[in-house]
Symmetry: C2
């Protein structure tokens, strides 16, 4: 799924409207539909295609099977000046986070830091859209999400971790925020599925078969095997931290505890998300965003041609100017989903 | 430097006493000497040999050259219910952290979370000893430290990052805390130096020469070249996060801003350290440490034979029983350093 198949372009606003209709048609409340549609369109606009409209069938499958509650009303509770728990009530994570956001920002401003622990939430998108508004407001933010078990620990054969992404955002003076957002698995699940469909092999080290032997066959990894964490034992430790923070600390389910077998077609995970927000200027006699700018300049001078999020912002600029590329087939699919009533 | 050369064993208390004498002889205040000696002996006891007595000449070099202030009295200031800044006053990081610790724990208990930003500090040890007491007290803790620039960003030739370690600790019901602590570089500086001394090659991907070409020669990496971050662009993003958190947010120097050229013999870095402490049980109707225990059990069942910190605790148990292995040569060196007055 690349932009080269595109046969037309759609405005961000128009895409949001179509996606809102799809979510609404499949049982999502209007307030939640808006949040999910903006999130999904944002990913598509920025070229995060594996978290854009590519994911709509998965959203719809989870909704149709009754696995996720599109009308969930998150319950936000504060436990002290720097700690918020959100029960997503088996709804999507983004509306749960949005419900907490005004207080998160006030807390970080007043207390210097705030932790948000969301449980029983379905996060089925990238993490960077959650963090960008916080970095734009001057905060640094770190988030972690657990998922459906598909990653084995080192030396193991049984999946325990989800792709367990981790993301970090920081303001940079005079520029859009610097944000990284990566799966702690060797690949994203979406990319592995795409490789399988394309009949391509993956790099050795990506995953193992059901006996724990390394394989380059995506289908062997997907069917009974497991991916591995990126970066050897260090990446594995990072995946473990994400599991502990996003599932244990939040009071949610571990990736390996999620059982979607009774919900055919469901693709989202009911786990949790943790968010740490810090006011980097608090009590400091320096301008944090200026310092980060100095650092990014050092990196470019040292030879790093592309920093995290550079490519997304370039794609965003193109989309903002000329519209978001969309193929005729994609548009047909979306239009069809938008006009389908729930059976 | 392995335990096999050992010709005798020394008790933890005795080793602490000898190390305290060394620090005191080289201009460290008694309160700071105690903190550093316990930290260093703890590393040696647990088999973290590259952060144990192996580091003493480096400590002494930094002290003798006037680069670090062994008598520094850290200045601790609070900025709200969840934020502490510490100016280490060009002293070591561990006494600075210790000075803040009682309030950090109170804050985390009262507010749910606490952030400690230490600047102008020299951290020349492992991070796990900083975190273990917090996890034993029931908190999760995450720490990051920047250092002397020796790691180039992806595609680069000039070092910008230090080895920039990151560490995470969590309680586990009925066991010692689970802690990981890893350099975001491909190797630790100490291990690279040991490979150079032994005339060994390192794996391709470890580092580059001064033209940015990959090399397996440790000396080429050390002299004019640079190490690379672990784990490709994901590890590089993690190294960047550590640099932003430990240097920019703290108000300290970046790894590439540290200039020790006027202090021959100095080896420590004057950068910063950040620590995030969270009360994982706050407001939750579950037992966090029990949940982590369940997760560690899943990992072992899935085939992961060794979890982070397993090996250290096994070494600790041996040391506690039979004493800490020490070679005759090491003991002579330490005794000599302990009785040397500053010139």
């Amino acid at each position: 799924m690349t932009h080269t198949e595109a046969t037309s372009r759609i405005s961000f606003e128009k895409l949001v409207t179509v996606l809102e209709q799809i979510f609404a048609k499949h049982g999502v409340s209007s307030v939640n539909a808006r949040v999910l549609a903006v999130n999904c369109a944002t990913c598509e606009r920025d070229g995060s295609l594996s978290h854009g409209i590519f994911r709509i069938p998965g959203y719809v499958g989870s909704l149709k099977s009754g696995w996720v509650d599109g009308c969930a009303v998150p319950v936000v509770r504060e436990f002290g000046p720097a700690f918020i728990r959100v029960d997503a009530m088996n709804g999507f994570a983004q509306p749960a986070l949005k419900a907490a956001m005004p207080r998160v920002i006030e807390m970080a401003m007043t207390s210097g830091a705030a932790v948000v622990a969301i449980k029983d939430s379905h996060h089925f998108s990238a993490l960077w859209p959650d963090l960008e508004p916080l970095a734009k407001a001057g905060f640094v933010a770190l988030s972690m999400v657990s998922g459906l078990a598909c990653v084995a620990p080192p030396g193991g054969t049984v999946p325990v971790f989800g792709t367990n992404p981790i993301a970090f955002a920081t303001p940079v003076a005079g520029r859009l925020p610097l944000i990284f957002d990566y799966a702690t698995s060797t690949m994203s699940n979406g990319d592995l599925q795409l490789a399988a469909r394309a009949g391509e092999h993956v790099e050795i080290g990506t995953g193992v078969d059901k006996e724990g032997k390394l394989t380059t066959e995506p289908n062997v990894i997907l069917l009974g095997g497991a991916m591995l964490p990126f970066g050897g034992h260090k990446g594995a430790a990072t995946a473990l931290m994400v599991e502990i923070m996003a599932s244990a600390l939040t009071g949610g389910q571990f990736s390996s505890e999620v059982d979607i077998s009774a919900h055919p077609g469901a693709e989202t995970s009911k786990t949790g998300q943790v968010l740490i927000v810090i006011d980097p200027n608090r009590g400091g006699n320096f301008k944090f965003a200026d310092r980060v700018k100095t650092l990014t300049q050092s990196l470019r001078i040292a030879g790093q041609s592309r920093l995290p999020s550079d490519r997304r912002y370039a794609t965003r600029a193109l989309s903002d100017k000329s519209g978001i590329p969309i193929s005729a087939e994609q548009l047909r699919e979306l239009t069809s989903l938008a006009s389908t009533d729930i059976p």
